[in-house]
Amino acid sequence: MLKYVGQSALRVDGVRKVTGFSRYTDDLKLSGMLYARIKKSPYPHAKILKIDTSKAEKLPGVKVVITGKDVPIRVGLYLEDKTFLAIDKVRFIGEPVAAVAAESEEIAEEAVSLIEVDYKKLSAVFSPLEGIKPDAPLIHEDLGSYKHASIILPQSGTNISNHYKIRKGNTEEGFKEADFVFENEFYVPHIQHSAIENHCAIAQVDPEGKITVWAGCQSPYTVRRTLATAFNIQLNKIRVISPAIGGGFGGKAGTTLEGIVIPLAQKANYRPVKLSFSREDVFTNTFIRQGMHARIKTGVTKSGRIVAEENKFYWDGGAYTEYGVNIARAGGYASTGPYDIPNVKADSICVYTNHPAGGPYRGFGMSEIHFAIEQNLDIVAHKIKMDPLEFRRKNALKDGGRTVTGQVLENVGFVECLDKTAKDIEWDKRVKKVSATKYRGKGIAGMYKAPSMPNNVGSSAIVKINEDGTVNLLVTAMDLGQGSDTALTQIAAEVLTIPISQISIITGDTDCTPYEWQTVASRTIYCCGNSIKRAAEDAKNQMLKLASLKFGIPENDLELKDGQIISKNYPDKKVKIADLAMGLTMPDGSGIHGPIIGRGAFIPPDVKDTDKETGQGDKPVAFWTFGVQAAEVEVDIETGEVKVLKVAAAYDAGKAINPELVCAQIEGGIVQGLGSALLEEMKIEEGKVLNPSFVDYKIPAIGDAPEMKISIVEVPEPTGPWGARGIAEPCMVPTAPAIANAVFDAIGCRINSLPITAEKVLKAIKEKKK
């Protein structure tokens, strides 16, 4: 019987947050603080001829001015293609070319305006379809010499930074078997994470050269490593601390500002330097979601079985794709969505353009490809006159099914999710016309997602038992709002059999909390959760040993129950955790063992590289999460306006460690997905972002939230803690295609690109009438 896992415990960070007490990076005020500003490129692609910083340096109050020369080492997560300040070339509008630290933000601002840069404009690339042409201007001439992870395949002498291929079965043969073949195209624009907290970083260098960085970051250890590479210093000489994080969604997974404040701080005579980005900076100078063009060719039989599929995904990776290359890879190994298709050929191609740098955004490629896959599926279902739900059920991955990489899956809850969602949206009931101008429709979409990460990245946890038997739990998985602090505490509580209130979780300090690769990929409950389970068990086992010595009874007769170790056969033999916390005191007054510290480490078992040419492999990912959403919309055919009335969702969480927080994640994901479906698009013209504010780039407000009905399915993942799978990112993946499919159901028009604006709807209605 589980006592803490599976309970909807209240958030452990809740009181700090409702009182406004939580400290985010920009809330930190250190004595002697200097303030930084960056000088940005006005051109999308240009050679830097000369930078003159002399006037800025002379401005009173200016302490440090740096340029690319000061940070010359290339860095990047999967592909080392960027420097923190541009060196000889700029590749997007807004790219930092110099930075200033001064006594106040106003002085820094003025100093930046005094920096003079001479450029020579170069022709630029604004679309991946342009970028792959043989005569396209090259954005990274030295791509062939960049270091990269073995799973990434850049093509030297082109703008292609990764090309991931899937060759499963034989599509030529497959298409021959098909009774019908359909081809469709889709487009997903750039959008931005729009966490309400803007990015901010502070760095300070002490007299021994040790650097401390404060930044709200999803991945303190990965940030530390990247910075250590960039500044050529030992890892123990750099400390990354993450205060509270005001939303991340992938946008705070990498390094940007940190690499600018460090070189400033190194010249600031031990004074701390803070760089706060404005909302506009966040839109243009931090990660954005990559744009994507999709082409899908589907072969299907009369009975509704998909027998072959050929997919091409062209990713608009932007100026730097250190992270984006792996999004293209994820798009490749998930390329048909959660369906079992025997013959698949897929090419997922990441292309440099002169747009702001693309990067991870909640779902990591899955929202983008599923918008195409799930609308395509709907189109095909309608063409062959089959109910879209039935068509999905028929082709769904089920136990024993094979993914596009050839992996055989077991414990698949997808069909259950389809059924639950269909029931909650009342799939079989339709009110089509509510007035002369208002039409309603329902649409459904499925999804699957796996954590996209290197195979061998680890997590670790430390459980320190305090003198009184309470616990400090140390990890570096970060709570960006998703509730991991709470759920991870529940995991420790379950093993240690003590209430959540007796455990304090401490995160985000590379000098104190143990290694965690990154808080991304919906991997935290699974990876960090497993490491916590092991750490707590380690602490428990140490105590069992001591209790066994104390009572002279074997360990297997002892158990940990409600905070004490007790004999199963002689229940009067018992000892509290507190009495073993510092070791065991023997009858003669001597002591043994010492304080109890549990350690746990975890790497997902048996995950291996796929074949470079075919993408085939037995286990390319740690686990899969499946989910389904269905939407009911109302379309006003006079204004073109789409209103989402209701969304039903079902996700297979494996085991919901905290069911309420799982539902809260799904609700948040739905509304974020709704934003991408109806509202959000970064308007970029000739490389210039035209709408870098919440006035011109609308995200959903309270009035946009639909009625939501959430179901949790629990088909355990055998390697997850109590069967848990990650769900945070999957929550927004199927929303946009479900809405697009509902719009079609309502008015019979397909909108193949996001967002589904009133203009596009009106245009489609007009064209249909013709």
Partner: protein, 157 residues
């Protein structure tokens, strides 16, 4: 030239000198260390900086500090007495109406202003009152539930 202004903040009378172009948000955060007040856009678009001035919700990033001369300000820091939470805060906690927490102070203050002027708001009133407060995490449903539940518990006096 700095201006001397006098106002009540979270129940305490304060007198300070401020630059005429300083926003209320900057004064609260920088001069008074009331860092529960958040900046999300600095341009009146997100509501993270919401505080009450004479019981009305304002975007403190749009108001000049000098404008609060003679007025009464309430920020998230003044909502609870440090021992007991305000019923609205209790309700946000209980309903999991919080994720990253960055919008929360502004959200709670906007809701507080609503309850000050309408002790029995309906769902539509809540949505209207919070229309200017953006939250990227929660999907809003639990925020609406939390406010309505606080009303039921007598949070709107």
């Amino acid at each position: 030239m700095k201006h001397k202004i006098r106002f009540t903040i979270n129940g305490e009378v304060k007198e300070i000198e401020v630059q005429p172009n300083k926003t209320l948000l900057k004064m609260l955060r920088e001069d008074l260390d009331l860092i529960g007040v958040k900046e999300g856009c600095g341009a009146g678009e997100c509501g993270a900086c919401t505080v009450l001035v004479n019981n009305k919700p304002v975007n403190s990033c749009l108001m000049l500090a000098v404008e609060v001369d003679g007025k009464e300000i309430l920020t998230i820091e003044g909502l609870s007495d440090g021992i007991n939470l305000d019923p609205l805060q209790e309700s946000f906690l209980k309903h999991n109406a919080i994720q990253c927490g960055y919008c929360t102070p502004g959200m709670v203050m906007s809701a507080k202003a609503l309850l000050n002027r309408n002790s029995h708001p309906k769902e539509e009133d809540v949505k209207e009152a919070l229309a200017g407060n953006l939250c990227r995490c929660t999907g809003y449903k639990r925020i609406v539930d939390a406010v309505l539940d606080a009303v039921k518990k007598g949070g709107g006096k």
